[in-house]
């Protein structure tokens, strides 16, 4: 068993010794810093509510917004053709929530910044796909596969160690995004406490949404956790293409293409009953918690998990079959 760990270590070593990996990390760090600086510069961080007079500030703001809204409506009635954007009335709603529940808003800090960086997970997916696509195909390209396979280790173990290395890479990169975001957030905004809670809209896309109080760390864990499903599936897909076709470019291309077009593909075929069996109709497990975006009738959490498991097994078995049965000949 310790041999297996050594082999995973070997694969990690080969990933992290290369400059291209470090460039990926530098890129990721750069994106986080830019996100932090622009958040500080352009986003309403609710600093105005941090003093003891936050109730008065909110009431004033509400009155101000109400007035603006009335003026705006009057203007719209007078001149129906004009097009302009009214004041942000969701602010009023949010303020009312705070006032009703007598909660002083938590200031923006490292935890919220981490939560806001959840979208960076798609970049982590991208990097993981790149690694997964290369990890088998490159050994063939370099010719080193011959030296790997003439060891007293079964091909199944060689393949598994590579797959494990991909998952370890994804995990470490995720950890990097979380911790680096937190550090950047802490430096730019400070830390809002050990276990802070914030008020957030129930549904981000709905203008008239209600508000609720949520625990940030919980929200981070579930948010990142749900996105991991997609990450693992796409990485496994890229790994499979890489192993079957010995072609890293093809693997990156197809996996990235599918990652970005997956939802459109589901939409395109949504008239058909079988569309619910498409992988991408099932990767967003969050929809079952929210109760939103139910795509097809009869879809349940159990159904989606079963579909995911079937896809996963197919990907793994195909990789395994091609890798273990293949004659390793010249290029």
């Amino acid at each position: 068993m310790s041999r297996f760990f050594k082999m995973v270590f070997n694969e990690q070593f080969k990933i992290y010794i290369r400059k291209s990996t470090w460039i990926m990390y530098i890129l990721l760090a750069g994106i986080i810093i830019v996100a932090g600086v622009s958040t500080k510069a352009f986003v309403d961080l609710e600093d105005q509510y941090q003093n003891d007079d936050w109730r008065e500030v909110m009431q004033e703001e509400n009155a101000q917004l109400q007035k603006e809204q009335e003026e705006y409506q009057k203007k719209m009635e007078e001149n129906e053709d004009s097009f302009s954007i009214g004041p942000d009335m969701s602010r009023v709603k949010k303020n009312n929530y705070y006032l009703e529940h007598d909660i002083q808003p938590t200031g923006y800090g490292a935890w919220q910044f981490v939560k806001d960086n959840e979208m960076l997970l798609s970049i982590v997916s991208l990097l993981t796909i790149i690694i997964a696509a290369g990890i088998v195909a490159q050994e063939f390209r370099w010719g080193t596969i011959k030296l790997l396979l003439i060891r007293p280790i079964s091909r199944t173990q060689v393949l598994l160690s590579k797959y494990a290395a991909v998952l370890v890479f994804a995990f470490l990169t995720l950890l990097f995004v979380l911790s680096f975001s937190w550090i950047v957030g802490a430096i730019l905004f400070g830390v809002e406490g050990i276990n802070p809670e914030i008020v957030a809209p129930v549904d981000f896309l709905d203008m008239n949404t209600a508000y609720e109080q949520i625990n940030i760390i919980n929200s981070i864990l579930t948010g990142y956790g749900y996105s991991l499903v997609n990450l693992v599936m796409m990485a496994t897909f890229a790994f499979m293409i890489s192993t079957v076709f010995k072609n890293g470019t093809l693997a990156i291309g197809t996996a990235v293409f599918l990652m970005f077009t997956g939802n459109s593909i589901v939409m395109f075929f949504s008239d058909h009953a079988w569309a619910k069996y498409i992988l991408f109709a099932n990767t967003n497990l969050k929809m079952y918690e929210d109760g939103t975006n139910q795509l097809f009738e009869g879809m349940t959490l159990g159904f989606s998990i079963s579909v995911l498991v079937v896809y996963y097994i197919v990907f793994m078995v195909l990789s395994w079959l091609f890798f273990t049965k293949r004659d390793v000949a010249g290029q």
Binding site: R3, K6, M7, F9, N10, F13, K14, I17, R18, W142, G143, T144, K146, L147, L148, L149, I150, R151, P152, I153, S154, K325, D327, V328, A329, G330
Partner: protein
């Protein structure tokens, strides 16, 4: 009797409907340097790939110290160190990192052992450099080092002197001889460089179109005194008659050329006999029977089918 270092029995390889390797059988003993030669496309590399389990054997078996590569893969391959085709290593890692990488895949290889191998191949200086900067000769040595880490009983080297300068070739040759003689390692070397094989090997196997044509000892002790002669004579049939019946040599004819083996001392009486029978002699040649001649005698032209 102990098992031979490597034994091929009726090895066949079929890809699609094409038979690449046909009924290959031979054994290589411990402490023997075996040269595996043949024209391009004869199936040398395919055979080597089957020996180490990179390719499936369609029919037949390869046994290493009696262990089948098909059914007992791990135990069989443990005894093998190999370079297949070019010495391809990770260019972005140093020589040392490459060796460590492969050492982790096999049990019980200490840093001291790696260092010993490095010293053996005279690579102490460039071992910390990236392999991408190595010359072909240095990569070749690193490839050999990689194959030797686990003290294999069988060492398989595909074109080991490729890219080495004459001094390097001599060093490798000496080293291979030493391995075979002192550590009782069976070494299998494939090459087109016939003169090289001749200097290094105890025995050669010649392969053509996937078939083993012959295996023979490089230094044929029993034939030491026999030289190959060819003579051009007319009428050839009469000359053939005389040489075969009166002297008892095995003669092959091609047009008016008669070729046979005999001791040098027997030639004067033979020519005298021919002249006495009124046979016209145009030329008599003694061949120094080098491996190259053997090779071309057996292979004919270098044809790929």
């Amino acid at each position: 009797m102990t098992a031979p270092a490597m034994e091929l029995s009726n090895v066949n390889k079929t890809i699609g409907s094409k038979k690449i390797i046909k009924d290959l059988s031979f054994t290589i003993n411990k402490g023997e340097v075996f040269g595996f030669i043949g024209p391009n496309g004869a199936g040398k590399t395919t055979t080597i790939r089957m020996m180490v389990g990179l390719m499936k054997i369609t029919n037949g078996d390869v046994r290493i110290l009696g262990k089948s590569i098909k059914t007992d893969y791990k135990d069989a391959v443990r005894e093998v160190g190999a370079i297949v085709e070019n010495p391809e290593l990770y260019p972005f890692m140093s020589g040392w990192q490459n060796l460590k990488h492969f050492a982790r895949m096999m049990p019980g290889i200490t840093n001291e052992r790696i260092m010993d191998v490095v010293k053996l191949l005279g690579m102490e200086k460039p071992i910390k450099e990236k392999v991408g900067r190595y010359s072909l000769g240095m990569r070749q040595r690193l490839g050999i080092a990689q194959a030797l880490l686990h003290n294999p009983s069988v060492l398989i080297l595909d074109e080991p002197t490729n890219g080495l300068d004459p001094a390097g070739i001599r060093e490798i040759r000496k080293y291979i001889r030493k391995l075979a003689e002192e550590e009782n390692v069976a070494v299998i070397i494939s090459s087109h460089l016939l003169s090289e094989i001749e200097l290094m090997c105890d025995r050669i196997g010649i392969i053509k179109n996937g078939e083993l044509i012959t295996t023979e000892y490089v230094h044929d002790t029993e034939d030491e005194n026999l030289k190959q002669f060819s003579l051009e004579a007319t009428p050839a049939t009469e000359a053939l008659h005389i040489i075969q019946n009166d002297f008892g040599f095995d003669v092959t004819t091609q047009d008016d050329m008669l070729t046979f083996k005999c001791a040098k001392e027997q030639m004067p009486p033979l020519t005298k006999a021919l002249i006495e029978h009124n046979i016209q002699l145009y030329q008599v040649n003694m061949k120094n029977d080098s491996l190259e001649d053997k090779f071309f005698d057996l292979i004919g032209e270098n044809t790929i089918e």
